[in-house]
Subunit: 234 residues, 2 copies
């Protein structure tokens, strides 16, 4: 609705990136969907040059897969890769939140509470895509507070991958992060309690991972894997 005006101006690379990413989070773009360059050019009214830059950035964030000579598709990380992503996040964020607990100032608390509130609103008003995005913003804000910029950039990539994983594996598209976790995290950080902050963060990420349907082999299109147990029984 607010984009009608943009019809005249040319949309920027960053804006197109966000639009595609949002479409993935909202499950309007499903995994393995092909992203034909020409179609995206027509949709957004820009040349292939711009679209290709967007696709390259999305592929760096592992949200789309770029197959040489065969175009781009929405990525479909398997259960094992999702587990690895969460393991990586635990490693990074245990450290980040501990640092954030030390460097945190009162003005940070306000911003964190604001994000957590909006996240809850979206979760309860049928906007799971926005809720996922805000959950990611919350974790990135913690990295901002911790103040290590290279580390923040790495986390940004992991958050993007996690967001895709959630929209893939979360049951019924429901927001999955328990909002109370975020509130309890804010309290622990405000207390400057490194150990408790770490513990909550670690458990929070593990809980998120557990809530995903990673046992079932959904999203696996490889027939060999699908029928592996059947054939083993023969």
């Amino acid at each position: 609705m607010r984009q009608k005006l943009n019809r005249l101006k040319k949309p920027s690379e960053a804006w197109i990136y966000d639009q595609v990413f949002s479409a993935i989070l909202d499950q309007r773009l499903m995994p393995d969907t092909k992203l034909t360059e020409k179609d995206l050019c027509d949709v957004f009214g820009v040349s292939r040059t711009i679209i290709r830059k967007v696709l390259l950035r999305l592929s760096i964030d592992r949200v789309v897969e770029l197959r040489p000579n065969r175009g781009a598709v929405i990525a479909a990380p398997g259960p094992e890769e999702v587990r690895e992503i969460f393991e990586a996040r635990r490693l990074l964020e245990d450290g980040i939140v501990a640092e954030a607990a030390e460097k945190y100032g009162p003005e940070d608390a306000q911003a964190l509470k604001e994000i957590a509130l909006r996240e809850r609103e979206c979760a309860y008003s049928g906007k799971p895509g926005d809720a996922i995005r805000l959950s990611g913003d919350f974790h990135l804000r913690l990295a901002d507070i911790a103040g290590n910029r290279p580390l923040r950039e790495l986390l940004r990539q992991l958050v993007a991958q996690t967001s895709l994983a959630i929209s893939l594996y979360a049951p019924g598209g429901v927001s999955m992060c328990d909002d109370d976790d975020h509130d309890r995290l804010i309290a622990a950080i405000a207390d400057g309690n490194r150990g408790l902050s770490r513990q909550i963060m670690h458990e929070h990420l593990s809980e998120c991972e557990r809530s995903l349907l990673l046992q079932t082999e959904q999203g696996c299109n490889d027939l060999h894997t699908v029928f592996a147990d059947v054939m083993a029984a023969e």
Copy 2:
């Protein structure tokens, strides 16, 4: 020498990336050097399309800085950012090496020793650029053993940034990582000793950081910073 033949074939994007990166490690390209697209086109005999992809990848690895409308320059991370890079590496690699100590197999030891040996050879035969590259390969190989692919990709980016930092701040271009550290690391991992491996890795990275000339404000072109203490005395 081996590239004379490639004069006819077109060099690939990945090869050009490596050539530019190597030039940086060998200090044939110094920080703040401008990378004019047309010049690179002439040098490598490809169109700007390819060069721009290479520059985009290098900028993602924070090895070159991409300034809108003003072209690309070799990045010049300041002392503070270098410290953050090392802090991030300690966080990631403490976890990686602990995992590697568990999953390691005999065939891995051979590969690690091979890399450590070649690294030492390069360090002592006046090839600091190659030594830096091999040191990075050593750490990435540990990530391979640990077996977390998303985490390995993040470390790859940090290793690239570290390599640039070393070539910038290492005294006299000397190889800086004490090779004994790598050997001791191999031994600890071979023993499956998680705690010791972590400890050696952590201390190793801290030692690397300390050996850099991060106190002096060399490489800082900001006049405000340069004359900050002088003006404060007035």
